[in-house]
Symmetry: C2
Subunit: 141 residues, 2 copies
């Protein structure tokens, strides 16, 4: 019989869970959850995104995005702006407050990752990251 962790896919699932829990526990202090953080990080890379882009790229339901952006707006981390060419859409952008938050928590995020990857040396971490990125780019984005 194959072992509990003989399957890479299942192993990924388990480690993803653990990683998510670690991130969540460090975000708890800020009153945010992982999903908010995902939105913030996406906005930081894109300089403004339609909510439907956020939904598609992050894999969350459009109705979930509504609440997440609501929360971020209340905290002053993001705002909705009207899209110039389509009045149905709203463009979500990071505010200066949101950018500052990301700067402040960046180090904490790295600490979480360090804790997780503790058994690996620098070269191995590099290898792992490259492999995961290859998988992620196929389908995810």
């Amino acid at each position: 019989m194959r072992g509990l962790h003989a399957d890479t896919g299942y192993l990924l699932y388990r480690l993803g869970l653990r990683s998510g829990q670690l991130f969540n526990s460090f975000l708890l202090e800020s009153g945010l959850r992982l999903r908010h953080y995902a939105v913030l990080r996406f906005l930081a890379t894109s300089e403004g995104a339609l909510q439907r882009e956020l939904s598609a790229r992050l894999g969350y339901d459009p109705s979930a995005i509504v609440g997440l952006v609501d929360d971020l707006e209340k905290l002053g981390f993001a705002e909705r702006r009207p899209a110039p060419d389509d009045r149905r859409s709203r463009i979500v952008v990071l505010t200066e407050g949101g950018r500052a938050f990301l700067r402040d928590t960046d180090e904490a995020g790295l600490r979480v990752t360090n804790e997780l990857l503790d058994p690996l040396d620098a070269a191995e971490r590099e290898t792992l990251h490259a492999l995961l990125l290859r998988i992620a780019e196929d389908g995810l984005s």
Copy 2:
């Protein structure tokens, strides 16, 4: 600003989600979910486990284990047996039906993993698996 997937921990979280979704969709046909599958696979490696062990090793709340084992018992995949040395405990064991189910679905699980790891060749998959296992063994088990 660092990219969306610059952080290995966050990347692991995202891929873990995707992997979990794939597993879940293949398990749906059997009426089970990922958590049931996790219990079954654990039981297959351990030849009987206290519910307390399942909770600790799989990271699920003890009260969640109750429902999962209930479901597996209803399907005839596992049973609770009295623990000889401690009447508080119950030992959960895989039945022959559960073992057959694991055999039958083993191939489907591999197919899911293959789909996920599509961008990687055999050697790379080996490397990835070894690295993930090192991380998993530290804290998880």
